[in-house]
Amino acid sequence: MTDLESRLTRLAMPDLEPPVLPDADVAYTLHDTPIGTMLLAIAHGRVVASSFGDEETMTTRLARAVSPRVLRQARPLDDVRRQLDEYLAGSRQTFDLEVDLALATPFQRLVLTDLPTHTSYGATTTYGTVAADIDKPKAARAVGTALGANPVCVVLPCHRVVGANGALTGYAGGLDAKRFLLNLEAKS
């Protein structure tokens, strides 16, 4: 490449601005919380993700499951962020949000959909009990796996489900996060 050609390649300009687009089919934002950075996403007014997963993995899954028009936009998530912050500050016990389990398998949907009614704020239940609640009494292990893949963490309270012996077992956001949430609910 000649000197002129490389000067053309480097032709720089100041003050470039990224584009501004209309409200996305899937809007997402990264939200810092006491239990770590969470990726929150909303599609057609319903929460599709509240997750500890990384941005690339989660947005790729959302592009495939919902729509490829996925954009980083904070404003459509204002209400979700506010409710989550209130919950994490101990001043909210239930979420007034619609959820869409587009990222879940049919079995995960069965386990997750009614979790807010199968659990209650400040109390824990067990994998076996949840399995019985959905009429799959032998599926405690599969229930554990389904809860571990919860795409809408905190809003769908999989953290309230623990092992039969009371052990915390596991959590997508790490055991410290699960402990934080259970302590928060216990004292609020």
């Binding site: 000649t2 000197d3 002129l4 050609e5 000067r7 053309l8 390649t9 480097r10 032709l11 720089a12 300009m13 100041p14 003050d15 470039l16 601005e17 990224p18 584009p19 501004v20 687009l21 209309p22 996305a24 089919d25 899937v26 997402y28 690339e56 947005t59 790729t60 959302l62 592009a63 495939r64 729509s67 490829p68 028009r69 996925v70 954009l71 980083r72």
Partner: protein
């Protein structure tokens, strides 16, 4: 008839990877003011068309082609219709060209005839090959080669560089 499902990446990934290239190319083609307008329009068009794409390959060239078309439209809308090669050169308006890095090159590029300026900026600012340049300008790779080579010759003589 069912269309085969194409696994398109999230649109935000395209923006993050390419928005600077789109903005630079649009400004180089249409000038600083019209260029920003053209880049914005290009993204709106791309966003609208995105879910219907039938291939996830060459998304960057797809974006730059849309940008080139928008830059042409925006720029051409500003002046009376005339045959392409008689079109007057853009003048650098808005932000002071002298404040930009390499102002001499900027001025010389802006004074090129339109087709030459489009071809040379697509080739070097857009980093497209002659097939990509040709697709964006609705012409042939051979014509793209000629336009770029004429543009380089003009730039060399204007800038007084001799680097063949």
């Amino acid at each position: 008839m069912t269309r085969e499902k194409v696994e398109l990446p999230p649109f935000q990934a395209l923006i993050d990877a390419h928005w600077r290239d789109v903005a630079r190319l649009a400004r180089a083609m249409a000038g600083p003011v019209d260029g920003d307008d053209a880049a914005q329009r290009a993204w709106e068009k791309a966003y609208a068309a995105y879910p219907a794409l039938t291939s996830a390959k060459n998304l960057r060239s797809w974006l730059l082609t849309i940008t080139a078309r928008c830059a042409t439209d925006v720029h051409r809308a500003r002046k009376p219709q005339r045959p392409l090669d008689e079109a007057p050169p853009v003048t650098v308006e808005g932000p002071d060209a002298a404040a930009w890095p390499d102002p001499d090159l900027w001025r010389a590029v802006n004074e090129l005839p339109e087709r030459q300026r489009f071809a040379v900026t697509l080739k070097y600012v857009g980093d497209l090959d002659h097939h990509g340049v040709a697709a964006a300008l609705d012409t042939t790779p051979a014509a793209s080669r000629r336009l770029v080579s004429d543009a380089l010759a003009t730039l060399r003589s204007k800038l007084g560089v001799d680097d063949d």
